[in-house]
Symmetry: C2
Amino acid sequence: MSEKHLQTGDALPPFGGKLRLFAMRFCPYAERSVLVLNAKNIPYDLVFINLDQKPEWIFNFSPRGAVPALEYEQGKGIFDSNVINVYLDEKYPEVPLQAADPLRRAQDKLIVENFSAAQSAYYTAAFNAQALQPSHLENYHKGLELLQKELETRGTKFLHGDQAGLVDYTLWPFLERFEALPLLGKSEYAIDKSKYDILLTYMESMKQVPAVKTYYLSADMHAKFTESRVKGDPNYNMLDSSAEVCCFRPRKKKE
Amino acid sequence: MSEKHLQTGDALPPFGGKLRLFAMRFCPYAERSVLVLNAKNIPYDLVFINLDQKPEWIFNFSPRGAVPALEYEQGKGIFDSNVINVYLDEKYPEVPLQAADPLRRAQDKLIVENFSAAQSAYYTAAFNAQALQPSHLENYHKGLELLQKELETRGTKFLHGDQAGLVDYTLWPFLERFEALPLLGKSEYAIDKSKYDILLTYMESMKQVPAVKTYYLSADMHAKFTESRVKGDPNYNMLDSSAEVCCFRPRKKKE
């Protein structure tokens, strides 16, 4: 797998017969589907795309060109991380990632929904800091408190249970990125040990889950990508060891 | 069932031992869950609430006080029409409303997702007409074309198949309200027979489905409610035959 992001004009790589996920290396929604594919041990190919100069063929799989998109059969796609992940879990039931009880499945979805205001706050803090309001910081911490309280109530290592499940893989990509906020000068967004001991223990456990570990990026990496995006020149290929252009040379501005 | 909407200060009616749905009579999202409960023949009580002066107890079932909310067990609730409806379909599997094939289930969800821009356009046209842009009208008709094309491709009476299913009950409340737009002076939002023959035949079939028929309101009724809401004084109880205040007397302004 190459970390290079394909862009307008680049050819669609030949279909290899496996499921194929279209993603962007730093996109938390795409990460959700990567983690589910990993956790379920489903063989797949991963294709990264440049979201500012999208290759033409992405629209065959995802009508608005959004990632993640899953090519489930040559030339045919579905999109939206939640739709893809439920599809994968139902289609490949060998490693089930959703709770067996319908009520628990509903409650897991509502945790994700109740956490969404914290995600929005993260986006504002990371990418649009001049629009930050006190309510963003409040929603962010409410989201963290909600997760911590839920972990405490459930009393399990992960929200899903003794093993991580869909609810954990859905929330994780945001928690991974939240740790970049203090590095971006947002110290009030730190996840402090004195307040979030249970949540931090959970986060350390998540980092050790094999499905997460192989795709995990450090807070420092996320901060670097965020800074490049805020400057208007997202460095999609910063992890690509084959890149011709390194970070310290002048880079072409986005057209 | 009373059509009266309970409000701040009103007591929560005693729990009757059945599932209880909290709704607002004119809310399309709440209607989604009403239709699913009806279609599955699940006994339930329906409680309408005033969304401008919410009764305090709604927050016990739905953290932001949004409807629909389902009291699945005395004092315990879940919310969000999609979460509620999948829960009901999984918990009460006797009348299954989702497709058996995981891919088809994913595709059904994507129809709903692709239709959402038409829903937003409807809201703007109905409630915030001064903000209308040409893109709203375009998205609205794109949504209608999408449904018609899908009906044509599938070649079944309903999107779900020979019987209506979750995908139909999820989309229907909006189609029901779309027919009010020409009555509100938005003639370019009409669903014209020359262009939408297949879609209109489908809509007529939906109106005959028992689950829909018992809850259906005419375009005229929806237009009247919409006008009252646009004026800033939503007439929640306009269908309540026991109402003391009729439409032609002066009504108290919202505080």
